[in-house]
C-alpha cells in the first residue's frame, strides 16, 4: 500500500501541469515513483546519475516547454549547488524540487546530519523559497502552492518531506 502523502503529492503535481519528473531515488521517494507509475501514465520519469545532472536535465525540459520536477534526498542537494546557483537561479529557470529529508529528529546515521542541518540555510542563501508537508492531508495543497510559486514566478522552489511525514514513528 502506497501512503496517502505520496498520492497527495502526485495529485498536486498532476493538477499543476507537471508531466516530467527527473529523480535520484531514495526510500520515501520510491512511493512517489510507484504512484506515478500506477496512476499517472502521462507523467514521464527520468533517472539521473546525480542530482546536479538532474537539474541540468530539468532545465532543458523547461526550455522545451515542460514544468519539470526533480526528486532528491537532502544529501543530494549538496551535489547540486553550482548548477542550482549558476543555472536555475541565474537564468530564472523554474524547477520544483521535492526533497526527502534526512538528518533531522529520528536520524540514526550521523553522516546524514551535517547536510540535513545545512539544507534549509542553503536554500535560504540561494533565495529558494520552500514549503514543508507536515501531514498527508495537506500534501496536495502544499505541492500546488509550491508549484504555483515556482512556475508562476519563474524561479526554483522546493517542497520538503520531513521524516515525521515519510517515516512516522521515527523509523529512518
Amino acid at each position: 500500500m502506497t501512503p496517502a502523502w505520496a498520492h497527495g503529492i502526485c495529485a498536486g503535481l498532476h493538477a499543476s501541469g507537471c508531466r516530467e519528473v527527473v529523480y535520484v531515488p531514495d526510500n520515501p521517494l520510491s512511493h512517489i515513483l510507484a504512484v506515478l507509475g500506477q496512476d499517472y501514465p502521462d507523467v514521464r520519469t527520468t533517472l539521473a546519475t546525480r542530482e546536479e545532472e538532474a537539474l541540468g536535465i530539468a532545465a532543458g525540459l523547461y526550455l522545451g516547454g515542460a514544468r519539470p520536477v526533480v526528486l532528491m534526498q537532502s544529501s543530494g542537494l549538496g551535489n547540486t549547488l553550482n548548477a542550482l546557483g549558476s543555472l536555475l537561479v541565474a537564468y530564472q529557470i523554474p524547477v520544483l524540487l521535492i526533497i526527502s529529508m534526512r538528518g533531522g529528529p529520528g536520524e540514526w546515521n550521523w553522516a546524514q546530519v551535517p547536510m540535513g542541518r545545512a539544507l534549509v540555510p542553503v536554500l535560504d542563501a540561494f533565495g529558494i523559497r520552500h514549503v514543508t508537508i507536515e501531514d498527508p492531508g495537506s500534501a496536495e495543497e502544499r505541492i500546488r502552492a509550491a508549484a504555483a510559486l515556482a512556475f508562476g514566478t519563474r524561479h526554483p522552489a522546493a517542497c520538503l518531506l520531513p521524516r515525521r511525514l515519510t517515516a512516522p514513528g521515527g523509523r529512518s
Binding site: 516530467e20 546519475t49 545532472e53 541540468g56 525540459l61 549558476s86
Partner: protein
Amino acid sequence: MKRIEAIVCISKTLADEPVIVSLGHPAYDLFAAGDRPLNFYTWGSMGMTSSIALGLALALPGRRVIALDGDGSLLMNLGSLATIGACAPPNLIVIVMDNGEYGTTGGQATATRSTADLEGAARAMGIARTCTVRSLDELERVLAESRHAPGPWVVVAKVEESAPALKPPQDCVFIKQRFMAALGAPEPGTEGMRL
C-alpha cells in the same frame, strides 16, 4: 583543426537546431561563428551542457538538439553519458570540442591529453553512434551523416586551442527568453495576456 574552425564548420550546417553550448571558449567561439537566438550560452554550471541538451531533446522529440561541449566539461559530468545511453533520444547530437586542456582557465591539461577516451566512454555507456574526428572534412562528413542516422550521437572532435575574439551576451535571462521565443513557445510571462 583549431576549435574556432570546427565551430564555424558546425555553425554553417545549422538550420533551426537549438544549440546548448558550454561556458567559456566554446560559447565564445559559437558566438563568433554567428550569433543566433537558438544558441543557449551557458555562463556557469560547468558540465551541464549535455544534460540540458538531453532534457531539451526529451521535451522536443521532433527537433534535432545539439550540445556543444568541451572535454573538461564532459569529464565533470560523465554520468550524463550513462543517462543519454539509457534514454537514447534519437534527436540528440553531443559534439565535444576535445583540446585536451582547460582552455578557458589557462590551458591546464585534462585527462584526455593522456589517457581518457571520451568516445570510448560514450560507447561503453550504450550510446548508439559515436566517433572521433580529427579534420574538418571528417567533421563535415559526420555532421551530414547525423542528419539521416538516428542518434543519440557523441562526436569527439580533436581540436587545438585558439584564442577567442568575442564574447556572447552575458544576461542570462535575456539568453533564455530569446532562446525560448526562437523555439516557438515564448516563456510564460514574457507576453501580455487577455484579462
